[in-house]
């Protein structure tokens, strides 16, 4: 649906094009592309959808051109511009992956909005000839205590699960983040991964003048006519509600049939091109496939199977009815194509032909020509806006009285017991276990899930090979709010680190850029800084960006969302048996910290909890060090030096250690006795979220080799202590972290106490906090 048009509520006396969200200069540009002619109603509707931000990327296209998109040498088989990125993984196999947003529809109708979001991204995957093998959902909402938020969470989770569970694609990971900036504008970003035989790679093009244009899948109704709704009410004077555009409803059962039928058509070599129908419906699918092949198309409206009587031509052309596919078929193959679709119980019809004139032509009753538009005018030659970017002027507020002067004082000044802080963080809405959500998702169907949701990156084995795929989604919106470049770079760093610490080699990146109104200079500045951060990080890490999606206008009267560059990564594990997991493995293993904490608590979970003044800046990111940390992790894993590896992210080192302990010994839990040198401040060392750090454990005999390897990569490494044995007396294992060094003792003396100089908590207490945290935050009754 077109975000632009949805924003302004139409004023009747305005000219039609404005009511459709088409500006005056855009209308002029349209006339220019029509050789001076003024578009009729139908043509205008088609342009209004295709020139929407959502379909045309008219604000972001210039920025996206700056991203590194990789090349054949990176194994990239298909990059941006296709329905999904495709990267070769050897053995004649390739992986297709892409992330996409369904923020707006989910805000309106959470269950159907999220469900159709899953359906849409899955179609992008199997359209390429890949069987979908995994879904990850990255979700962002406002305050979990707010009834409105709870309604949205309940609905979105129901929608994601209801759809993924039924189509039989496991949902293996994602994110769930609460932040006030999403209160009125939740984010629902869904990533899908597919596996294909490289020979089956299918592109969304319409070659071959005279080929048939075939529509199969669900029938066409008035679903999600969105922006053009004004046209609906303009066209239908009467108030028959059935004639108003309606919410898209997902039918996962139909999608499942669509997957099987599409893959069968592709394997049988029956289609010359395949395109799913998403935003812009038939208009988008026809013009894009024609433009890609440099052809045109003639569409016969009457031939399109309808769900409802009395639909106007524009409704049929821009309807966003779900679960539909467009295929380009050589006339000689039509019978075979029909047989496949009908066997799967799917309506199928020839709705037109590929032509040579480069125009998309819509024919009405008795062949009357209702519209004629050059395909490229709707797609590759759509208007591009050069938006204005301006950084905000920041006024530095005077520190509140009594507020800590420097971050380093944060913890001691407040006299907090670090063990209590850790427990509070683990039980917080954002850091507690997400199980209450992902246990509503089938994460095991297809029998390939090696590591499902809950313990860092997800791992899927590739049956018939030794290989495994490792995937993660991440976005850092808290730092991005003050420094959008850093926020984006950190997002890439964390997402790829999550994958690298398993021993896998990240293959490439897909991204979903969730930002505000690009016509606002500050919002556009955030977007351009975000793209720059994404681009810089990917260049240093040597990763191609193979696709993604841009969602703008994520604003409400309350303000815009924090800039949210959602990053999806897929990595390759050559031998899935060598997978390194985050949980500690065995008693007496040594625990080491690779990397070093740097100051800067702004944007951390601790800062939020302790109310650290915003003057304290965010941590810095050294992209080259990030690269070396990841290279170190992969090499250590490859040489079998790692018993476990966990990255330091939300909640800092203390939370990372707690997760290693709780997830230890296959979730039964393992304690540890550790000593941590506190350089500057306990808060920074324990709870700071400075990047490029990982906690590893290994058998004592491997320690020297590990230390040497770290040195070779120019990385600081510190042995913290060892994994302790389960107490024989049946009492719970403990996590003990003694602090020593200047920072710590100073703090202790100030407080005249020693408690704050050690974390000493039982795993039972940590587990209780971590396990129930999300349900408590959402007011879900625990079961």
């Amino acid at each position: 649906m077109t975000m632009t048009a949805e924003r302004e509520t139409p004023v009747p006396e305005e000219p039609l094009h404005r009511r459709l969200g088409v500006t005056d200069d855009e209308l002029a540009a349209i006339q220019d592309r029509l050789g001076g002619r003024t578009p009729n109603e139908l043509e205008l509707a088609m342009f209004s959808v295709m020139w929407s931000e959502h379909c045309s990327y008219k604000s972001s296209r210039p920025l996206l051109r700056t991203l590194p998109t990789g090349s054949a040498s990176d194994g990239v088989v298909a990059g941006p511009g296709e329905n999904a990125g495709v990267i070769s993984i050897g053995d004649g196999l390739a992986v297709a992956f892409k992330i996409e947003s369904h923020n707006h529809p989910s805000a309106v109708e959470p269950t159907q909005g999220a469900a159709t979001g899953v359906g849409g991204i899955l179609r992008d995957i199997f359209t390429m000839g890949a069987r979908p093998i995994a879904v990850l959902d990255a979700l962002r909402f406002g305050d979990p205590a707010d009834p409105r938020t709870r309604h949205l969470v309940e609905g979105v989770v129901k929608g994601v699960g209801g759809y993924g569970n039924c189509v039989g694609v496991p949902t293996v990971g994602g994110e769930l983040v609460f932040d006030p900036s999403y209160a009125a504008n939740p984010l629902v970003n869904v990533m899908a991964i597919g596996l294909l035989d490289e020979r089956d790679l299918t592109l969304a093009a319409a070659p071959g003048e005279g080929n048939l244009v075939v529509l199969f899948g669900s029938t066409t109704g008035r679903d999600g006519i969105g922006g053009a709704s004004v046209l609906a009410s303009a066209t239908f004077a009467d108030d028959d509600p059935s004639k108003r555009p309606s919410v898209q409803v997902g039918d996962p059962f139909a999608e499942k049939l669509l997957i099987e039928a599409s893959l069968e058509l592709i394997r049988g070599g029956l289609v010359a091109g395949l395109q799913d129908l998403g935003a812009g419906g038939i208009t988008c699918a026809t013009s894009e496939t024609a433009d890609r092949a440099g052809t045109g198309m003639r569409i016969d409206l009457a031939a399109i199977p309808r769900r409802e009587p009395g639909m106007a031509p524009f409704e049929v052309m821009i309807s966003e009815s779900q679960e539909r596919m467009l295929a380009v078929v050589e006339p000689g193959r039509w019978e075979a194509v029909r047989e496949v679709c009908e066997r799967w119980g799917l309506p199928v019809a020839v709705i037109g032909r590929v032509t040579g004139d480069g125009d998309v032509v819509v024919l009405g009753d008795a062949g009357a020509e209702l519209a004629r538009i050059p395909a490229r005018a709707l797609t590759s030659d759509a208007i591009v806006h050069q938006r204005v970017a301006a950084a905000p002027v920041r006024r530095r507020a005077a520190p509140a009285p009594g507020a800590p002067a420097t971050a380093s004082d944060g913890l001691p000044e407040r006299g907090m017991d670090p063990g209590a802080v850790l427990t509070a963080l683990l039980g917080s809405a954002n850091l507690s276990s997400r199980a209450a959500v992902f246990e509503q998702y089938d994460s095991t169907v297809q029998a390939n899930t090696v590591e499902g949701p809950g313990h860092g990156a997800a791992v899927i084995r590739i049956k018939g090979t030794l290989k495994g795929l490792v995937a993660s989604t991440d976005a850092n919106q808290t730092v991005g709010a003050s420094d959008p470049w850093l926020g984006a770079a950190l997002s890439v760093a964390e997402a790829t680190r999550n994958v690298a610490i398993t021993g896998a080699r990240p293959l490439g990146i897909t991204n979903c850029l969730n930002y505000g109104d690009p016509t606002r200079p500050e919002a556009f500045w955030q977007l351009s800084e975000g793209v720059r951060g994404l681009s810089d990080a990917c260049r240093v890490l040597g990763l191609p960006v193979t696709g993604g999606n841009v969602s703008l206008y994520n604003e409400a009267p309350g303000g815009a969302i924090a800039p949210t560059p959602e990053i999806g990564v897929v990595g390759l594990l050559e031998d899935v048996a060598t997978l390194v997991r985050p949980g500690w493995r065995a008693t007496a293993d040594r625990v080491l910290l690779v990397g070093q904490a740097t100051p800067g608590l702004a944007g951390s979970a601790y800062a939020e909890l302790a109310g650290i003044a915003a003057e304290d800046g965010p941590p810095t990111l050294d992209l080259d060090r990030e690269r070396r940390v990841q290279a170190f992790a992969r090499e250590a894993a490859a040489r079998g030096l790692l018993a476990s590896a966990q990255d330091v992210s939300g909640g800092g080192l203390a939370v990372a250690l707690a997760e290693c302990a709780l997830w230890g010994d296959r979730d039964r839990g393992l304690g540890a006795r550790l000593r941590l040198a506190v350089s500057s401040s306990p808060a920074v060392d324990l709870f700071g979220e400075s990047p490029s750090r990982i906690v590893v454990s290994t058998a004592a005999r491997h320690v020297p080799a590990l230390v040497l390897l770290a040195r070779q990569h120019g990385l600081p490494i510190e042995e913290l202590g060892e994994v302790t044995e389960r107490p024989g007396d049946g009492t719970a294992p403990r996590l003990v972290v003694e602090l020593h060094g200047a920072g710590a003792t100073g703090a202790a003396e100030d407080r005249g106490s020693r408690v704050a100089d050690a974390i000493d908590v039982t795993l039972d207490d940590l587990r209780h906090a971590w396990t129930g945290g999300l349900e408590r935050a959402l007011g879900w009754e625990t079961r």
């Binding site: 699960g161 569970n165 039989g168 246990e439 998702y441 095991t444 169907v445 029998a447 390939n448 079961r783």
Partner: protein, 249 residues
Amino acid sequence: MTVRIGITLFPGSNRDLDAINALEIAGAEPVVLWHETADLDGVAGILVPGGFAYGDYLRAGVIARFSPIMRSVAAFAEDGGPVLGICNGFQVLTEAHLLPGALLRNRGLRFVSRQVAIAPERLDTAFTGAIGARRPLRMPVAHGEGAFFADDATLDELERAGQVLFRYVDPDTGERAGGEDDRANPNGSVRAIAGVINAAGNVAGLMPHPETAVEAILGSDDGLGIIRSFVETAAERTRVGEPAVVGAR
């Protein structure tokens, strides 16, 4: 010669790949049986897999019951052929009256997907013979309508006749799970019943997924014993050409 096991494929079945994988590991030859055909292709046993047959709209499993293939499956079961229904397959078999009871919406009203623990009540059946000593058996559940239900009279009779095949148990203590408030009972099944067998002893169904728990790398291979038992029964039957199944006690 490896035994051929049929897997019914309805539009919307989605654990068919899991079932094929498990049967191959158990040494059988999987044969896909399309819902529109009534021809069983000479298979020695039939596995009705998980998924959302016909979308599971209306009531899970009800629409599948009327498909041509299910009429043949009913006949196959009638003359003693071994039939195993897993998850959606269990729902289909109860709707088809090949198994007692019904599967209601999970008491928590939410889809439940996680590792659970179950224990067999009997080892002398066509579906449990090869399980061995391992207890409890860990395997995933993934369903929204898995709360087993029957009225008390029926339940008493099922228990008396030894037709309760699996119960949910506490993963740590191995003790029978409690009611709907016990996390070990993922869906609120009455008397913690996870699976049942028919009186004749040749048709069984369960909600958890043994066919997905057949390789250590997938988190558990505790399900393999169940699949093996089923495959061996089918193999046995082809050898002697008649039911090698133990009926109700």
